[in-house]
Amino acid sequence: MSASGREAVLARIKAALGNRLLTEAEAASIEKRMKSPPVGPRPGISGEAIEQFIAKAKGNLFTVERVVSLQLLVPAVKRLLEGVDGIPDISVAPALSHLGWPTDWDINVGPGRRIEPISVTPALAGIAETGSVILLSSSASPTSLNFLPDVHVVVLRASDIVGFAEDVWARLRSENVDWPRTVNIISGPSRTADVGGIVVRPAHGPKAVHIVLVDD
């Protein structure tokens, strides 16, 4: 029974730590630490967060395109598909399905498929420190669309770029959101060096990630 395992492991831990009860001060300090978590040492950000984000994202082998409005997302995806034969077959996260996609395309609005040429999903935030994007799972943004496509298009609002991951955690705490099943911090295309130490892209996920940065 795992119930007895639980009591046994906890008893072992307590015994190893001296079977000491927390003092009131200790309990209060743990409570405080949990409620307002301290921020550790972090690298500096050089210049504007958005400029560092773009530079770092490109360093991570993302491609980055700036557009002035979300209405320009569909034309941006059209340009990505130039030269592709046949009717475009793409997956769009429900959060972005209202943007006027061409009616003559095959558009899958839903979770990812076994063969998934291209998907378009929304990011919650961008992190300037590392040039990463953060994506949350929800009914409007299924996680499988972040990993199954050959090409992953991530839509990020410029105003959602922050310095550090801790800024995103603080935002989520303050908005008191229902915590999602999955939080993805993505910092590059899928890769591996497990054969002969040679870097190969992709491994299991997207071979390319294109960020459409929307100024707002």
Binding site: S2, G5, R6, A8, V9, L10, R12, I13, A15, A16, L17, G18, L22, I30, R33, M34, P37, G40, P41, K56, P94, P111, G112, R114, T130, S132, S137, S139, P142, T143, S144, N146, F147, L148, A165, E166, W169, W179, P180, R181, T182, V183, N184, I186, S187, G188, P189, S190, R191, T192, A193, D194, V195, G196, G197, V200, P202, A203, H204, G205
Partner: protein
């Protein structure tokens, strides 16, 4: 996995004469060591981060019960289940029961060192389940019937040709009839095969780099995306984690993630860092229907609160082995179990017992590089020295060595006698070796002279020279 039967010495000897292994390890030395050095040099805050990382782990370990209970409460609040396992056997039983209850046939696994530690695959296969490793490196060693030789880079011992041979033989079953030559083609085969497995998987098992008490999340860090497809597409997601993986908050995890990528690969970040929390929500379009976490003790509470507690700070980055002259000479398989290198030389005796790993604490020159690069400042050389001491106390040292060390200690504690004995021995050895200036073999030192000659002494003892120079000043 079971602990290898033969001795470290004999495995190390064959590793030293394995040309292909030596080539692979040389790449590790030049590649990852240099990459880590560059990443650290680019970050003035790195030392402060190491201190912060060690402090976070120490704080959590000092209140481990409190944080694990908080973590459990959050997992349950999000609809997940937490199971507690005292040892490997209990952990295997819990996971087998979850698989049985789910009516599982196919299990896909992301990389998890603790699942290697509890020898999970063999147990699931014995129940008739198909178990497929999805990390490309783990997939390769599984197909080869081998164990990983590095905790971050499981195939560091294999060349591209080795993998091409293996796939040519084993991938015909999937319709790949021609020999793939390049790394890209070989990985392409893995991608195609695994894509089907992810969709077929009933159960997806991943490890956890961290567990977050604040949110009840597990965090995995990968570059391939295999862990994400494993945990997203299977009906049931099981997380295996040692009890020491918990940290209080997301901010604490962020500090440790900065240390992990730089220390493991010399990179600022990996492609994917993923927090999974509970099963899919009611209106989610994908994600698992069930979420289980198996918290595994398996010897960890015996390190807690004692002289070895600092070992529980370990975040499994592999920097200690990448910088270890012994690991870099003999490779991971020589260590005989799941965890190689300096961290393995401590963990294996602590988890599996001294009697199963007698030689490991001695496979160390006490040069201290592991401690210098450890992102959470584990005093590995001190722990290894302490293990040697314990072995001596508990009688695990063989009679000849004990006699030799006792005799030397007796002599070394009597300075006059020691000087007289060495003062006599040195001229005698110098005279005996006068013709060639070296010895091809020496009594009681055949192990040393088997690989190289012993130079003959050229004159006085160190003590005599020191005294003479002091007089001359």
């Amino acid at each position: 996995m079971a602990i290898a039967g033969e001795s470290f010495k004999s495995r190390a000897s064959s590793a030293l004469s394995d040309a292909s292994l030596q080539t692979s390890i040389a790449g590790l030395k030049s590649g990852f060591v240099a990459a880590r050095a560059r990443a650290v040099a680019a970050l003035p805050e790195f030392e402060a981060m190491r201190d912060a990382g060690a402090a976070i782990k120490d704080h959590t370990l000092a209140h481990l019960d409190v944080y694990l209970e908080r973590y459990e409460r959050e997992v349950v609040r999000q609809g997940g289940k937490v199971h507690w396992a005292r040892d490997a056997e209990e952990a295997r039983r819990i996971i087998r029961e979850i698989c049985a209850a789910a009516g599982a046939r196919t299990v896909v696994k992301g990389k998890s060192m603790v699942s290697e530690e509890i020898d999970l695959n063999a147990a699931l296969e014995a129940d008739g389940l198909e178990v497929v490793e999805s990390d490309a490196g783990e997939y390769i060693v599984q197909l080869a019937g081998e164990a990983p030789s590095h905790i971050v880079m499981p195939t560091i011992h294999k060349t591209t040709d080795d993998v091409a041979d293996l796939f040519e033989d084993r991938h015909r079953a999937y319709g790949f009839m021609d020999r793939a030559k390049s790394a890209a083609e070989l990985i392409g085969q893995v991608r195609t095969i695994l894509r089907e497995k992810y969709f077929a998987a009933d159960v997806g098992i991943t490890g956890a780099n961290f567990l977050v008490a604040e949110t009840g999340s597990n965090i995995i860090v990968t570059n391939e995306g295999n862990g994400d497809l494993t945990s997203t597409l299977a009906r049931v997601h099981i997380v295996t984690a040692g009890i020491e993986k918990v940290v209080p908050t997301l901010n604490d995890a962020s500090v440790l993630l900065r240390l992990l990528a730089r220390s493991a690969l010399g990179m600022e970040v990996t492609s994917y860092m993923t927090l999974s929390t509970g099963p899919r929500r009611a209106d989610d379009l994908d994600g698992p229907e069930e979420y289980h976490v198996v918290l595994i003790d398996n010897g960890r509470t015996e390190m807690l609160g004692g002289a070895f507690q600092s070992m529980l700070r370990c975040i499994r980055c592999g920097a200690c082995m990448n910088h270890c002259p012994v690991y870099l000479s003999v490779g991971g398989h020589s260590y005989g179990w799941v965890y190689p290198g300096p961290m393995g030389a401590v963990l294996t005796p602590m988890i599996a017992g001294h009697e199963k790993a007698k030689e490991l604490p001695h496979a160390c020159t006490l040069n201290g590089r592991c401690q210098q690069v450890c992102p959470v400042k584990i005093p590995l050389p001190d722990l290894l020295r302490r293990l040697r001491h314990q072995q001596w106390e508990q009688g695990f040292i063989d009679a000849t060595t004990r006699w030799g060390i006792s005799a030397w200690a007796w002599l070394a504690q009597r300075p006059k006698l020691y000087r007289a004995a060495t003062g006599l021995a040195i001229p005698v050895l110098a005279w005996l070796g006068r013709s060639s200036g070296r010895f091809r073999s020496l009594p009681l030192a055949s192990g040393w002279t088997a690989g190289r000659d012993m130079p003959a002494p050229q004159g006085e003892t160190f003590h005599a020279q020191w005294a003479r120079r002091a007089r001359q000043k």
